[in-house]
Symmetry: C2
Subunit: 329 residues, 2 copies
DNA sequence: ATTTCTGAATGAAACGCTTAAAAATGTTGA
DNA sequence: TCAACATTTTTAAGCGTTTCATTCAGAAAT
């Protein structure tokens, strides 16, 4: 690989001049510039990013920490981040934390050592200390935990109320909630939305809360169990994967969806269109969330001011077969 | 951030000594080492990876180029790569190529500039020139195109024959194939397997080949169209997503799966367990493929010899409801 | 007493780039 | 003619490491 020195030698100038041509700053004579460019061409010279990084302390790389890319909520988010940062000529280091504080800490340490220019964090467990003393820009995605960082989330609370209300509107009165892990902030927000809406409807009953831990199998088992003990005619699942679990359980019980039990999920991942019946869901603008977070981070990195620090994106009720009873469909 | 110089000063030694302590090579007196370690502790010193990279020309980073992380086949693959490389203290830069040669070239260029230690490539379009002159280790994943690189694939041809044969075994005689994009190698291998098996069974009919482009919607439409023109009692879809498309089409036509039409997919992504009926599929060891590719790359990078260059992992028939007719289930 | 060897530590060059400061050259106007 | 200034280029220091060559002290060998 040719270095800047080779180019300088071939063009008969000093390395400083080549550097100035490359970076388009400082004076350089038109004629000289041409010579330099020809030399660059001839040698197929590409500046060494690492050397540049060492000097400038900026790597055109960001870190993206997600719990688990194989959770179907994240691929689209990651894709969005990659798409946006790519436009700005940034590159993405992907980290799976499994929500483990230990892994998060390690990754953050490594990312710092590599001089990443920024980090997008999807987590809630991390205590301030680890992150807040970070000197690189951070944007928190999906799960805000600290108000000092810019964040992008969807309206979990509102979405949950919307889902609950929707089940009510189509005639459900025994509405259960499949709840996600209690240490995950968005799961709790959705639970809160459900609870408040149920209270307002005068239907609140804590026995109707079922723990599904955001997993299909656990959700399915929990629903099977719940049906033994309680009457239920509608299920609001905290995420789409659990909604599928619920669907499986209902079908296994020989009941019909939506006639006997209506189901609505949360997230709006592609999966919801693939089941039979297709699942109603509260759709988050997943791609947009990732893109927005990436854009915020880019701005942050380039030192531009943000018009706003916390973004709460709207969610949308998507009604499909799983909640389409007589009166509405 | 403290530098090695700060540590050296505090410990009262030269930077060379600190470096030797850090890298555990060369002579260093026990007593001195202790002093140095104390200084490192005291300053919370972490070596600067970038400086290290510049000197050693190795970054403990690899590039992973996939077509599109939001295609449900890839998250698990990516996760596997990340898991394995993480053990070796490597970090992963994720790149989405959309199968576009242009993007692939750009990414490869950028990765080289960043001194990545290796690249895992999931692509088939790239001509030798771009890649083969690459001086970093490369492992080709899922889609081998050049026999000079180590590669990991699953047995597409065999899997396709297995799937076709399975449909035959449960009684299908008009077996259609939903084919993926013709420029994707594995799609063609699967097609070939289907064709050869059909010929051997004396059932080959080119009219039964339906183009679905690996997409759900396109597959669904194509199946609806095909049913107008031909009699079909079994569908072997080139991937699971298209199998879902086929399922949707069949259901829309008011036919039953598997009684009227049996369906089998390919890949074995989690989705196949979420549909109703659950989909039979040819399951590829997705995680294992990613892990294997990563392990090969690690070996390559560390200069270890590979026992074998090309790995063809076995696939497995998973029979579920969509092909469970009377005689078998 | 001189040489040779070994363990321990250091100095300085190198990795490939950027940039502040210095130097060289050219231009202008009094 | 010369100061004042603008333009162009070079020199050299620095980014934070690693490592080669060297030094040094003391022990062992001659």
């Amino acid at each position: 690989m040719a270095t800047i020195r080779d180019v300088a030698r071939l063009a008969g100038v000093s390395v400083a001049t080549v550097s100035r041509v490359l970076n388009q700053n400082g004076y350089v004579n038109e004629e000289t510039e041409k010579r330099v460019r020809r030399a660059i061409q001839a040698l197929n010279y590409k500046p060494n990013e690492v050397a540049r990084t060492l000097f400038k302390k900026t790597s055109r790389t960001i870190g993206l920490i997600v719990p688990d890319i194989s959770n179907p909520f994240f691929p689209e988010l990651v894709r969005a981040v990659e798409d946006v940062t790519n436009i700005y000529d940034y590159t993405v280091i992907l980290c799976n934390s499994d929500e483990k504080t230990e892994k998060e800490k390690e990754y953050i340490e490594v990312l710092k050592q590599k001089y990443v220019d920024g980090i997008i964090l999807t987590t809630n467990q991390l205590e301030l200390a680890e992150v807040s003393e970070l000197d690189v820009p951070v944007v928190v995605l999906d799960r805000p935990f600290n108000h000092s960082f810019p964040s992008v989330i969807a309206d979990n609370y509102g979405g949950a109320r919307l889902a609950t209300r929707h089940l009510y509107d189509i005639g459900c009165r025994k509405i259960a909630h499949l709840q996600g892990p209690s240490h995950v902030v968005n799961a709790m927000e959705r639970f809160n939305g459900y609870r408040d809406e149920m209270k307002e409807l005068g239907l609140w009953d804590e026995n109707l809360v079922i723990l599904g831990n955001y997993h299909l199998k656990q959700a399915k088992e929990a629903v099977l169990q719940a049906f033994k003990e309680h009457q239920i005619d509608g299920i609001f699942a905290g995420n789409d994967v659990m909604a599928v679990g619920a669907l499986k359980a209902i079908q296994q019980l020989g009941l019909r969806v939506p006639e006997d039990v209506a189901i609505i999920g949360y997230d709006g991942i592609p999966l919801t269109e693939m089941t039979t019946p297709e699942l109603s869901t509260i759709s988050q603008p997943i791609y947009e969330m990732g893109a927005m977070a990436a854009r915020l981070l880019m701005k942050r990195i380039e030192g531009q001011p943000l018009e706003q620090i916390h973004y709460v994106l709207p969610v949308q009720l998507i009604q499909r077969e799983s909640t389409r009873k007589g009166e509405k469909g």
